[in-house]
Symmetry: C2
Subunit: 251 residues, 2 copies
């Protein structure tokens, strides 16, 4: 561990949480370090474009570098490139919100989102993380992880309540994961956001490891039992097709 690099990256994390940016003295107080040390770390981050100084307020904030790195990262994800045509197929067939997520350290991250043309406002956003216990994509990924990893995730994040429908009891939650393994898809009816339901299929990599999930979300009014039953075989098939594009084989 390189201590000064650790400090610099911690500065980035702190600054990122403050929309209006942070000053030298505030960062020094937060990290219990000398202002001149903070100043020099910031200068180095500024030189590389990772941080910039607001000329008016003198406060330091995130630089545009992350937009570039983020778009380079998204472009480098094969899964996203391979999955795109399938996601567009789902969007055009069902005209609902389509998500593609990856699993990363106990959370899911949205790496693609197609919005359809119906006006459904969801909180999801490319780049953002989401909890696993109350999203269809999260539950379907958890259901295919080794038991010890499931336990680690639940220990780390718990089962916090998001709506009246959120499963917060551990035993019930494990039964739910069993059910999802059996059905092959994850369903979520208003567990994450009121009025929104979702169905998700798992995506496996060439080592047969669960790595991602694809989902369709819609208002519960439209996502009826009949509609979900109609979608189920199609999204399972799409999940399998995407997996095969990534080198997954059935045998």
């Amino acid at each position: 561990m390189v201590k000064s690099v650790d400090r610099a990256l911690t500065i980035i994390s702190l600054v990122s949480k403050r929309k209006e940016g942070m000053g030298v003295t505030e960062l020094a107080a937060n990290l219990d370090l000398n202002k001149s040390s903070i100043f020099r770390l910031l200068s180095t981050l500024v030189d590389h474009g990772f941080i910039e100084q607001n000329p008016e307020t003198k406060k330091y904030r995130l630089g545009y570098k992350y937009l570039e790195l983020s778009s380079m990262l998204l472009e480098s994800i094969d899964l996203r490139t391979q999955a795109k045509p399938f996601l567009e197929e789902l969007e055009s067939q069902f005209n609902e919100v389509i998500h593609l997520t990856v699993y990363d350290q106990g959370e899911v991250i949205y790496i693609e989102k197609l919005e359809g043309s119906e006006t459904l406002r969801t909180h999801s956003q490319v780049g953002r993380r989401a909890p696993m216990h109350c999203t269809a994509v999260g539950k379907v990924i958890l259901a295919h992880l080794p038991l010890n990893e499931i336990v680690d995730v639940i220990d780390k994040y718990g089962l916090p309540k998001h709506t009246e429908q959120t499963i917060t009891d551990k035993d019930t939650f494990f039964k739910e994961l069993g059910k999802i393994r059996n059905e092959g898809i994850g369903r979520e009816v208003e567990e994450n956001e009121p009025g929104v339901s979702c169905i998700a299929a798992p995506i496996f990599d060439n080592m047969k490891k669960i790595t991602a999930a694809v989902s369709i979300s819609g208002p519960s009014i439209r996502m009826t039992e009949e509609r979900l039953a109609e979608i189920r075989p199609i999204i399972m098939d799409i999940g399998k097709k995407i997996s095969m594009r990534l080198g997954y084989t059935d045998n």
Copy 2:
């Protein structure tokens, strides 16, 4: 300048350019540093999520952290939030590709893009940079910068040819900027991409400084002189409205 932070950030830049990631030995060769130094810098970046190691190939690549930082950055840009309804208005009125860009160190960066429903494939992408000399947004921003800054940008980037229409002669280019200042909008007819034309309006901040631009792009077949004349007053007005939302005043 903190040397080890500088090295760490340089590693990020190098790794970001290689889709499949880079190994310790390769990075050490590139930077003429010891493998153990590289290894420790990478470990620190991995701990913070800025870099991750591909378990199969052992190579190091960009971590998902940039997706989060990028979306936090976009959310923190007031300009983008304030401009969004106006961009949607333009999109619904003209049904072409709408861009919002900011000026950053001699280049423009796309921070919002609405695609309309017509199928126009453009190379632009949120997060990506674009040259200033051959894009409407770039030219309209340059036209409103102080002369010394214009000279600096041209010295740094030159006027490289992108299409047969790209302006590559300095005198002609300065005349073009004069014309843009007079007209109040930037036009670009196939200077950046063959078959694509664009019209852009400037956006000023509360200190009356040029900071951004908004544009409409379409295939040259649709973006006729008549169409551009129709769009001109509307996009100028939109540019002004967005500027006023950011505290710009006319007097």
